[in-house]
């Protein structure tokens, strides 16, 4: 069974540009989470999808961040326009609809905004 995958693995962009991160959860996992780790800080929650619906987006920093999960499969996280403080590692995780307490993480996307 394939794990959670994320694309790209690295992205370097300039301030003001747009970047879109993609996450493919484990097949059949209804729950999908986005997290972010800024250098030296804790991993912080961004938002949570249940299938295609946003269950909790309380962690989204501002309206420059837009997450979607069309069809309840893969998810995208768009940052537009990117700012310097958006740099960090963006993790995606998924979990089953039941037995939901274990989240399985992807390798992360390392974003650097110059």
């Amino acid at each position: 069974e394939a794990g959670v995958t994320q694309f790209p693995s690295h992205s370097v962009i300039e301030k003001g540009q747009t970047v879109t991160l993609r996450c493919d959860p484990i097949s059949g996992h209804d729950n999908l989470y986005w997290y972010r780790r800024v250098m030296g800080k804790e991993i912080k929650f961004l938002l949570h999808f249940v299938k295609e619906s946003k269950q909790d987006e309380s962690g989204m920093p501002n309206n420059r961040f837009l997450a979607e999960r069309t069809g309840g499969t893969y998810s995208t996280l768009k940052v537009q326009p990117a700012e310097l403080e958006d740099s960090g590692v963006y993790f995606c995780a998924s979990s089953q609809r039941f037995n939901t307490e274990t989240q399985y993480f992807g390798p992360g996307t390392r974003l650097l905004v110059l």
């Binding site: 929650f45 979990s95 307490e101 992807g106």
Partner: protein, 115 residues
């Protein structure tokens, strides 16, 4: 708000020895889950061990075990017979209730294993 604290930014251990990583948390909930995740240099974060708060027995997974002290809100990870492959960043995490809730992470402890 729930918080998780890992007071050891870095730790090191000799190969084959035992090391304990500390984690404390703060919550007013009675039903929750605690986790230790490991992130090796290759970056894929994997679950090491999980503890349900309602269980008094400490969780064990092969060489990994926890010391869960609910009253003290402490959740330490013990790694026995340390191996070179144990070198990684270790994150302690908390989840309220039975799931479908975000994980709250500590800052992590970087573990080095010395041959």
């Amino acid at each position: 708000a729930q918080t998780v604290t890992q007071s050891q930014p870095e730790m090191s251990v000799q190969e084959a020895e035992t090391v304990t990583l500390s984690c404390t948390y703060d919550t007013s909930e009675s039903d929750y889950y605690l986790f230790w995740y490991k992130q090796p240099p290759s970056r894929q974060m994997i679950l090491v061990i999980r503890q349900e708060a309602y269980k008094q027995q400490n969780a064990t997974e092969n060489r990994f075990s926890v010391n869960f002290q609910k009253a003290a809100k402490s959740f330490s990870l013990k790694i026995s017979d340390s191996q070179l492959g144990d070198a990684a960043m270790y994150f302690c995490a908390y989840s309220w209730n039975s799931g479908n809730t975000p994980l709250v992470f500590g800052k992590g402890t970087r573990l080095s294993v010395i041959a």
